[in-house]
Symmetry: C2
Subunit: 141 residues, 2 copies
């Protein structure tokens, strides 16, 4: 029997593409390791979630607050925030928050499926910048 709160494990494909920034009350916050767009991914720490409809009402409220915090943290890193929950490739529920800028490589289309990922030269440094914007404690401290 799955315990949705304690049996959470991050999908290995999400883990491979991202750097963990830290934990909010509901979600693990990841930074996509992609230097062309400031890009956060929120993953509710509950086992077995696939759709937003799978969230309990109190979890949905927490998710909204954490999305709001994430969008606010990225707002002045671009000219338009894109938010999306797709999950066609990775089924584990995860929500993207991306700062877009007119003229960026995928503009005005979506970033998903646009082109291969271009990693940061120093992902840890970029992660620290975003962590400060999100007011998350440094990992491991």
């Amino acid at each position: 029997m799955t315990n949705r709160a304690t049996d959470f494990l991050l999908d290995p494909r999400l883990a491979a593409d991202t750097v963990t920034l830290g934990e909010l009350p509901l979600c693990r916050v990841l930074m996509m390791n992609e230097r062309r767009y400031p890009w956060l991914i929120l993953v509710p720490r509950r086992a077995g979630l696939v759709e937003l409809l799978d969230l309990e009402p109190d979890e949905a409220r927490m998710l909204w607050e954490e999305l709001h915090q994430s969008m606010a943290a990225l707002r002045d890193l671009g000219t338009k925030i894109n938010m999306g929950a797709l999950g066609n490739m990775v089924r584990q529920l995860h929500i993207h928050v991306i700062a877009r800028t007119e003229g960026d490589p995928a503009w005005p289309g979506p970033v998903w499926s646009h082109s291969p990922r271009e990693p940061w030269p120093d992902p840890a440094e970029s992660a620290e910048t975003l962590r400060r914007r999100l007011k998350l404690p440094q990992c491991g401290i």
Copy 2:
């Protein structure tokens, strides 16, 4: 001085691509006139909104409820719900809710920017089906 509640006007590009299904407490509900994907668009009826961050807290709660209702209405029309707020082309805040199915034309990529829209042969009939699923009254009655 803009009155955000009374000065709402639907963006003409959204109007041109969609059929209006009806009104929820916060949002106008549109059906994208695209026969390949069951596709709803929610537009909060408030003038001047661009980002989800622009919503007042009570509006954000209403939006979440209406998104939940929309996702539930589409759930068994596909195998995965995609939800997104992009706004790179049309700045007026609008949120997409789309029922995706493995093997559909854009699968597993996003539908946005994938290929030109393919309209329904009879949009009014398709709209009526979605309106019933959403439990919205028929327009004009």
